[in-house]
């Protein structure tokens, strides 16, 4: 009996030291929505799972979901840093300042913040060229609308969202000169109730195609109910609206998470500002609906290919804003830094930038 427990004890000690010897690399994630949002956070979480699978046993990950942007975020990020994570991904724009603050306090930990623009010695940023997907969405919306009114559900009035509205509008204009955009802000990334209200308010006003920069499938469900069309956001949302769904612009963060983790492990990591799009396979057009007219389907594919190959680049000048000022000179293409600072609407959008 005694011998047995002694052996067991020894075994345990051995087990612990073995674990210490291997000491897996720890990666933490902070999500703004629930992992079940079937949108933004869902895709980040899929990236996390891929990361863990890729490094099998050598990397362990953990995540905190539903973290409000602001003071709460700082507490959560600090907690992740304190609990020994070597690399922390914070995955929403509003985590920018909290991440910067915590990064200063934990210089040995590496931080990566999605969609922001503040960097430091141990803090890099990464973003998706969502405007590429938005351009394709604009093409489809412009071709599919019969009322020439496209509804756009915005989350927060920030550059990322303005930029994407512009991209979609410019694209729609190329295929339908009479197209008009109606923009509604819901001031939330994920609020199915509000998103439904917004979708209905837009459809009440004659909108028949919905685009969204919010994360829930609620607008698609609303469109399905009323026989309208909509484009899915961030992940494949086709099953929520089999008829209404045009296609989904799908995010894929795994390639970046794997690459960055590898760099930190190997000691080759340098904080930078990385932008991934169609070309990097971090953004794709998923589940194009079979029920679309053939010419729309073809145009969607061609536009995708053209952006991927660099033939189309949405933000190449001359571009004039809706106050009549030239914001992109002829021949110039906005750099990534400039893309992160778009605070104007392109000529033709009748709304004013909200303050």
């Amino acid at each position: 009996m005694k011998l047995k427990s002694l052996l067991l004890g020894l075994g345990l000690v051995a087990g612990i030291s073995a674990a210490q010897a291997e000491d897996p690399f720890k990666v933490g994630f902070v999500y703004v929505g629930p992992v079940g949002d079937h949108g933004w956070s869902y895709e980040h979480n899929r990236g996390r799972e891929e990361l863990e699978k890729h490094f099998e046993g050598k990397v362990t990950t953990s995540y905190v979901e539903n973290v409000a942007e602001g003071a709460d975020a700082e507490r959560v990020i600090t907690q992740l840093a304190k609990s020994g994570n070597d690399l922390i991904f914070t995955t929403s724009f509003g985590y920018m300042n909290p991440t910067l603050k915590v990064a200063k306090r934990f210089p040995k930990t590496t931080f990566e913040h999605a969609t922001g623009y503040k960097r430091s010695k141990n803090l890099g940023t990464y973003a998706l060229r969502t405007y590429e997907g938005r351009y394709v969405s604009g093409i489809a919306a412009g071709m599919m609308t019969k009322t020439n009114k496209v509804g756009y559900i915005g989350s927060f009035p920030i550059p990322e969202v303005f930029r994407d509205i512009n991209s979609a509008y410019m694209a729609a204009k190329t295929v339908n000169p009479n197209v008009e955009f109606k923009i509604v802000w819901v001031n939330s990334w994920y609020d199915p109730g509000k998103e439904t209200d917004a979708a209905n308010a837009l459809m009440d006003q004659g909108v028949d195609v919905l685009l969204q920069h919010t994360d829930s499938p609620a607008p698609l469900i609303a469109a399905e109910k009323r026989g309208m069309r909509a484009v899915g956001q961030a992940s494949d949302m086709s099953h929520f609206a089999p008829e209404a769904h045009i296609f989904s612009v799908r995010d894929d963060w795994a390639p970046y998470y794997i690459k960055t983790t590898e760099a930190v492990i190997n000691g080759t990591y340098e904080p930078a500002d990385f932008w991934g799009g169609f070309k990097d396979d971090m953004l794709s057009i998923a589940s194009i609906n079979e029920n679309l007219p053939a010419d729309v389907k073809a145009k969607i594919k061609v536009t995708y290919d053209d952006i991927r190959s660099g033939k189309i680049s949405p933000f190449t000048g001359p571009i004039t804003n809706n106050e009549g000022k030239v914001v992109v000179e002829a021949g110039h293409t906005l750099t990534d830094t400039e893309l992160a600072q778009v605070n104007w609407y392109v000529e033709g959008i009748t709304d004013a930038i909200p303050h």
Binding site: G36, G193, D204, Q205, I221
Partner: protein, 310 residues
Amino acid sequence: MDAELLSQVLFAAIKTGTPLLLIALGEVICEKSGVLNLGQEGMMLMGAVVGFLAAYSSGSVGLGVIGAIIIGMFMSLIFAFLVLHLGANQVATGLALTIFGTGLSAFVGSGVVGQTVQGFQPLIIPVLSDIPFIGHILFTHDLLVYLSFVLAALVSYVATKTRIGLIIKAVGENPHAANAIGIKVLRVRYCAVMFGGAMAGLSGAYMSLVYTPMWIENMTSGRGWIALALVVFASWRVGRIMLGAYLFGLASIMHLVLQGMGWNISPNLLAMLPYVATVVVMVIISADHFKEKLLAPRSLGKPFDPRQMA
């Protein structure tokens, strides 16, 4: 704004106002009996999550609604036991119930976030729905909206025209007098509180099965609180509650409608309005001298112990 858009907006106002109406109908009976239950939000959230879970796992929205009503009643029973039996403070216990319901619903529902169910389909009433303008606004909703019309009429009738209504009123105005003439005060209050719970559960089910057929943490976003304010606004009268619910509904969608029309007003400002009104009313409820003027049930929020005389 043309007639078509106006009718769409009013239609949406009724849809948005319905959860408020349902929960306020329960709360008004509860308050008329002299019990202030601030746990509405918590009960509503539990109703929403349990209703969704039941509908999701069984595939039947009807079962979802029943599940939501049962959990609402169960939650209110906890509240009733604490405040009626043990004489706990009603305000504190109600707040605790809300916090408890918020947390528990998030926990219970974490597995089904992002799932969806086939909610109630619109039930277009023949003939009536053909009436120009009004037909669309009133008669192209789903079953629960019609049910809310019927329940409002029923609650109004029972509260003002029947003996039961009088008994509830007696208990809420002067429980000692009611006790003296042989009314079982606590039993009446138990029933009233549980009716409130059932309605809160139903209102929650409306949110997760009709309004947005999915579950997400905190999806009621303060509607339980707005309903509490609504009851006071309406000075405990059902007709006014109904009107108020639709006005609140209108206020909460108006900012989206106006934005779509290209008005450049801060959406945050407009979105805030229903909540500002709620805060003002909450302040009023807690001040005694206002209560008299608003015709509040005189013993609202006061515990009753049959062993003590007034």
